[in-house]
Symmetry: C2
Subunit: 345 residues, 2 copies
């Protein structure tokens, strides 16, 4: 069932069928109706590969995210969902590529073999060979996150520095002086993950300015790591009264660890950090946090990419978002009932 068959049955040429479909040249109403009738009758749809070959564009984009083993986070899910739905509104298909680096097969296939017109990259690293590669090739890409030299790139990012600083400020305002920072796994920090680095920086600087006493930890992306992390925190300094976390997946474990240690949140211990609202609201008490606007970011990334595809020579654009902290129920003033401090003090 191809365009030639339609042409034959409608008694016109293939080009006329093509033009009737694309509307790139006028076709008499009569002819158009005739063609349309045949198309409806046969349920014809033009072959995407042939069209892509002729047009030089596939109408598909790639969504590149690192293969996480079994450690996908809820935030990633929200990004994926919003990117796919936004792309659908522009009639773009989305190809998923589980690629951590430039050299991954799937990455090479999607981009090298021109299966897609552009790409959206997740989980950006400060030095990111994927981004470098695409940049030097001038391949249309938009990052969810920023590299160390973001000026020339297209991206939508979060101001992790400001977010972490806001968390510190919030806790400091509540009177907390000894605060722990629960970062993503060390592996990711070493790999140069943007959020882990900028978040850590923001936390450290803000805490220094406020004269807080801090310790920083890396924590695996799962509940049991979170629980173990809290044990370390309280072991290292039992007088700690609050923590800031970037590690959404460990959150449940952090809460559990605190409960096991007999620290009531928020009476004895405050918890805050950066997380998508849906996940902040599943835990009890609900997490006071900077809400990652994941679906907005996914949509913006698609919009930027579509714009870049439509006007390949436009200047780079980006959006830096800094959502404010949503007050929920996991933080409180330090003075209320520092039971452990009293005992030990």
């Amino acid at each position: 069932m191809n365009i030639g068959e339609i042409a034959k049955r409608a008694g016109v040429s293939r080009s006329t069928v093509s033009y009737a479909l694309s509307r790139k040249r006028t076709v008499s109403d009569e002819t158009r109706a005739k063609i349309q009738r045949v198309i409806d009758e046969l349920g014809y749809r033009p072959n995407a590969s042939a069209r892509a070959l002729a047009n030089g564009r596939t109408n598909a984009i790639a969504l590149v995210f690192p293969p996480a083993g079994d450690h996908y986070t809820g935030m990633q899910l929200d990004f994926i969902g919003s990117v796919v739905e936004a792309a659908a509104t522009f009639d773009y298909d989305v190809l998923l590529s589980p690629s951590g680096v430039d050299s991954d097969r799937s990455f090479q296939r999607l981009l090298g073999e021109r299966r897609v017109d552009g790409a959206i990259l997740m989980e950006i690293r400060l030095q990111d060979d994927r981004v470098d590669h695409l940049f030097t090739e001038n391949f249309p890409a938009v990052c969810i996150g920023r590299t160390a030299r973001p000026e020339a790139d297209w991206w939508v990012g979060l101001d992790h520095t400001a977010l972490a600083a806001a968390c510190v400020q919030h806790l400091a305002d509540l009177g907390h002086r000894k605060v722990a920072f629960v970062n993503r796994p060390e592996r990711l920090l070493r790999a140069g993950y943007e959020s882990a680095h900028r978040g850590l920086d923001g936390f450290t600087k803000a805490a220094a300015e406020r004269g807080l006493s801090v310790r920083t930890y890396n924590c695996g992306d799962d509940a049991s790591s979170g629980q173990a992390c809290v044990e370390r925190i309280l072991h290292d300094d039992p007088a700690t009264t609050a923590l800031v976390t970037l590690n959404e997946a460990a959150l449940g474990g952090l809460y559990r660890g605190l409960a096991h240690a007999g620290r009531h949140v928020p009476r004895d211990f405050s918890v805050t950090g950066v997380a998508a609202a849906r996940w902040a609201e599943t835990v009890t008490p609900q997490l006071t946090a900077a809400d990652v606007p994941a679906s907005q970011m996914g949509r913006l990334a698609v919009e930027l990419l579509v714009e870049r595809l439509d006007r390949p020579d436009g200047p780079p654009r980006h959006h830096l978002l800094a959502p404010s902290i949503s007050l929920r129920a996991s933080t409180g003033p330090v003075g209320t009932a520092p039971s452990v401090l009293r005992r030990s003090g």
Copy 2:
């Protein structure tokens, strides 16, 4: 940069380059080396659209899941991740399609325009027009889940009936007599979602056999709905001592509702159900549940689809999984401390 260019620079014909790449006919080592050198030098990769057009296959599969608004569940994430990674090992790309029904644009595009060789469908309904459509077209598809007439289809599914029954049995063995069932949202039940229906059936029958007193509820896929649902349950029958849930996304809210009502889990109230292990372990106390082997299911679905694509005329295959219940910390004997019963009895 196309195959003709490579051929010219290597001083051979285009067919020789093609055969050197595909190995479908012998090429002298000398020629091959010459070609390879040029390819490496120019970083040539064959164009996927052209190849797809010539071959009649795209080496891509579709992953179809309903557009969930902002209510994606953790289980869906695990499916997506495992499908993508499994597909990558077979050198298939994955196109995501947010399509609830047959008539969705994205669904029509992916399948009608032959962008993909086959499809994996998630969130199957007992009567599913997507499945019906693909079946009548004999389009290679594999379902994650079963329709009402699964014999002729290819699928990998969960025995929801057995799973729900196992939950009932577990609770009955612990002495619980008044048990609530927390299902997915009513909208999904009405739409005919397989898990919601078969789970409900299994629960109801098993409870009847055991002579339990039960009530069943639909609950939105989010924490606050879960909390509200618990309030309804305890309002309708304060003597309820346990619940079974299929609603992973509401779990955090269910726990919160119980905590607010002063019911300690598992001392005063037992909770069990069906959930992916990662999510069961996030909550405190960790959920005793039938663990959905999401990543195994995703992998199996890909394997079935690849097999179907390789041998288009083989008989339908499927896998019905019935993971047993993992004992964690959310259930306990009813007798221990039924505080409310005592008060009211």
